[in-house]
Symmetry: C2
Subunit: 161 residues, 2 copies
């Protein structure tokens, strides 16, 4: 039939999204409880649209930069309603600006941290080279070009202990 299964119409099961984004069903349901997601239902089952997937991406990015779920929800809400009460928009503007400032501070902190860790690595490498060269794993730097892709192979999220 003529129905094209192009990407924008695709839907996702909870597990598909979890595999793609390395998280657990529990987490997605939790985000839903907290009002960050609202997938459609097919009977009882959740059905995630492309828009839901995009939201999830934003949520996870937000988390990685240290936002709380409450803050993320706020931002998502403000994002959606560009109309409505203008006073709300003014408040949104202020909040956004404030967040930008915080982010810039954070970037500075991260640059600091990277610099310090890098020099610490250099010192450690020297030290090891002198005393126990056999322990040098011979990986002097981060593999260039390759963004640390976790390589989703299993459905169980392995933890580091």
């Amino acid at each position: 039939m003529g129905i094209e299964l192009r990407r924008p119409e695709r839907t996702f099961s909870i597990r598909q999204l979890c595999l793609e984004f390395k998280c657990t069903p529990r987490a997605l349901r939790f985000y839903e409880d907290k009002g960050l997601l609202a997938p459609a239902r097919q009977g009882l089952n959740r059905v995630y649209s492309y828009k839901d997937r995009a939201r999830l991406q934003l949520i996870l990015r937000g988390k990685r930069v240290g936002l709380s779920l409450a803050e993320i929800r706020e931002i998502l809400q403000l994002y959606g309603k560009e109309d409505g009460a203008a006073a709300q928009n003014a408040k949104a503007l202020a909040k956004f600006r404030a967040r930008i400032v915080v982010f810039e501070q954070q970037r500075e902190d991260i640059d600091h941290a990277i610099a310090e860790l890098t020099s610490a690595c250099a010192r450690l490498e020297e030290l090891l080279a002198e005393t126990h060269p056999e322990l040098l794993t011979a990986e002097p730097a981060v593999a260039p070009g390759v963004h640390a892709r976790p390589g989703a192979r299993d459905l169980a999220v392995a933890k580091h202990h």
Copy 2:
């Protein structure tokens, strides 16, 4: 007499550090409990040296970039003992490198976030300018309240609920 009271010899009370770094005594004691700080004592009272202050700075920076206290402690420990078991140093090296990778990912995320919020701000400004220009506070940058995150009411500015 010849004794110079240069900075390196200065010591700090718990409150002084709290004021300087916008945190609470409770937090500092907590960090101590967790093995991140170990100030000298004068009777019962804690006396923080310049080195302690530096450690505190690192701790807070670590927190701001999303490290857990446990991770920060690990880093601080590895920092202090450049000798000792070489195998430990090798592990430290690996961990540091891994953290650097995470940090670089984080920086990317933050740049993303800043970009998105900035464009959102621009859109909001336009929208407000058209519909309710009187709400434009004409503060293109930040105004109030130093950026300290939650709570901190012990000796900081009173906050909204």
